[in-house]
């Protein structure tokens, strides 16, 4: 295509064209550069053939994203069913993840999930590929420059913790402890049970050695229905513990119905929409809760 012809197109159109022509690394380009690249291609140069054709490192979310993209392309290893298509037209039909017949997609994408999640996922299911990229060339920062650790509740049995080490932490520790001591120290997560207390006076704690380079961890708790807090720190050869960062504290939810059956009842003030504290409610026996609850 001629330069003048290309110049009349919008950037979005040029990107679509670049993708169709199999160009890589065009997503961050400005219009002029895009025009140049496209104009330089010989007429009828072969198309990329697949939509998510290798993006160079920049702009990709990392190896994991590439693996995901690859899985999406191949249908995650499930057998591919070619799209039935007419004698004509076949030449021009794009082929990619979206070329998978719906049956294959369905087996791969949705049947492994629970019913409810599968039905909920159906609202995002279009049986096609995915839309063109509007890549802005952004990569998540590896670090925000601070020592931080953050603790989250996944479920009654599991905590999730993520952390980040400041770039100057290593140098800082080396000057404090000496290179030799630092090299012999272990980086650990110290998990405190802080139920009714604080991390300086924990009920108990245990350590988890973390692999170098790890940035998060799922922690299977020792005791359910407790409060927890986690320190990221170093254990030096002499056994002392140096805290690098301390997390927020969390409370795990109960794993079953409560044994507490004291009852307190309120009535609704229809006028103000406020709830008023009332006296004890209807008879306070606990009949009916004997076995397995109601209605079965």
């Amino acid at each position: 295509m001629k330069r003048s012809e290309l110049s009349r197109k919008t950037v979005a159109e040029l990107r679509t064209l670049a993708k169709a022509r199999g160009l890589v690394g065009y997503s961050g380009l400005r219009k002029a550069a895009l025009v140049e690249k496209l104009a330089a291609l010989p007429e009828g140069s072969p198309r990329g053939g697949r939509r998510r054709a290798a993006r160079p490192g920049r702009g990709a979310a990392g190896p994991a994203a590439r693996v995901r993209a690859a899985a999406a392309r191949t249908g995650g290893g499930s057998e591919q069913v070619p799209v039935p298509s007419g004698p004509k037209g076949e030449q021009r039909e794009p082929r990619a993840g979206s070329g998978l017949a719906p049956r294959t997609r369905r087996a791969f994408t949705l049947y492994s999930l629970l019913d409810e999640q599968r039905m909920q996922a159906s609202k995002y299911y279009l049986g096609g590929g995915e839309s063109p990229e509007l890549d802005e060339g952004f990569e998540y920062p590896r670090s925000y420059g601070e020592n931080t650790i953050s603790l989250m509740v996944r479920d009654p049995y599991w905590l999730f913790v993520y952390w980040e080490l400041a770039p100057d932490l290593r140098a800082d520790l080396a000057s404090r402890l000496g290179e030799d001591t630092l090299a012999k120290s272990r980086l650990v997560l110290r998990v405190y049970d802080v139920t009714d207390t604080d991390p300086d006076h924990p009920v108990s704690f245990h350590d988890i050695d973390v692999a170098p380079g790890a940035r998060n961890w799922y922690i299977n708790v020792m005791r359910v229905e407790r409060d927890y807090c986690v320190d990221l720190g170093l254990i030096t050869p002499d056994g002392s513990f140096i805290v690098i960062a301390r997390s927020n504290r969390i409370s795990l939810p109960p794993v079953g119905p409560s044994d507490i059956i004291d009852e307190e009842w309120v009535t609704l003030d229809a006028l103000g929409g406020l709830f008023k504290q009332s006296t004890r409610g209807p008879s306070s026996g606990s009949g009916g809760w004997g076995s397995g609850g109601w209605g079965r």
Partner: protein
Amino acid sequence: MEKGYLSLVLHAHLPYVRHPEYRSFLEEDWLFEAITETYVPLIRVLQRLTADGVRFRLTISMSAPLISMLRDGLLQDRYVEHITKLCELTEKEIARCRDNPRLRGLAEMYHGFFSDVKRAFTEEYGLDIVTALRHFQDAGRIDVLTCGATHGYLPLMDQYPAAVRAQVRLALDHHRRTFGRDPEGMWLPECGFFPGVDRYLAEAGIRYTFVDSHGLLHAVPRPRNGTYAPIVTPAGVAIFARDLESSKQVWSSVEGYPGDHWYRDFYRDHSYELDYDYVRPYLGADGFRKMLGLKYHRITGQTDEKELYEPERARERAMEHAGNFVFNRERQVEHLNEALGRRPIVVAPYDAELFGHWWFEGPMWLEYVFRKIDEIRGPLASATPGDFLSSEGPFQCAELFHSSWGYKGYSEVWLDGSNDYIYPHLHRASRRMIEMAKAHPNAEGLRRRALNQAARELLLAQSSDWAFIMKTGTMSEYAHKRTRDHISRFTRLYEDVKANRVDERWLAEVESRDRIFPDIDYRIYADDRPPAAPGASR
């Protein structure tokens, strides 16, 4: 006299997807398909019930992103184009199938269906689904609730009170502007409850919300009436719980109605079997095949050899299933009434998009359920949670802990190996937003615009849809990308504001893309104190 109540709750939400920078964009079909198969058919149901004088009460929660998209001129125009094409395609289908009476009949059915939807959307509703729905609110038939501002999953942002508060307050403001009144209740995105979230609701004047069954059954002290009465939290918010039995009848693929062999198959789209040239005009600009809605087959069974759909049989099944559902609820409330010594409420919440989109006959089923209840006028009446709070009581006080209605009941769907990488960035963005709001208590001009846009980008990144999609694998690339884009735009705004070098042209471009919450005020993030502890004792 009724012995108990059925409260049907439909939660309507889609993430904000709007790409003016492209001529067509595949993921905008999420909205278009939901309009065609869910929202218009549901309004049709409300219209028919009202016209026939059926007494019914229905609760619908609508998220701000969905409302914003439904009211967006660009998306409305694109939808008209979309539905017009479907009308055209099905007309061609009628001609193509002329020698096959059964297929032809199905093509005619879809043509009639799409044409009716188009007529309703363009002529009757004037392109505005929201106003069409509001009419039924004003007429006292439905209660409309709000939801988290961008459907952010609150338990995973609980460390940032300002972020939680913004999700609650902005949703409320948006709802008030849309529906002309405050919502009585709020649907917590994914029923995601964490200890203390009720304080944010109380602070905003919300009277009630919902949790999944176990969320309430594990409350302390143990709720005497199980899931059949709301409890009131120390902050003064009433909590209703999903009823296991009625949800299983709809959600379960084994016992659930939508899996019936006579119902339409969701996946089998005939357009995949047609010549590429024939369907090309109906595909997006990228030319990739996608579902076009020519779903001519019924579920048939655990087989890939699908039989053709028979609309009349499916209708009969929907009617039978509605009868079965009402019968079961009647027996349930009779039994509960006796056991509890009070009128129970059976809360049956569903994703609205389940009805019509996944379960094509769902709206029809819903209509029959309401007709049946009204026809019998026996032990069962339909009621909204608000009705129940006004007419029943007293309510037991209890405290609740983490829970959600996701797989396994807690946060695993939104926090696992497929999506956990987003939280350090979402959390950092929340912190930065708070930092900026505090640093600039009275920003004006360009800086103010930049700060408001930063708030929009943070909110859009927080949509629980992205983590859910990453987890389930349907369109996950787009979900990764959207999260990255919003964090990217947020980060640039943050750095530009900090360096006092906001690029007006770039900002205007971003504003024109991510247009949700036009009246947002970033200063909502300046208050990062947790809500006050309730005065009420435990």
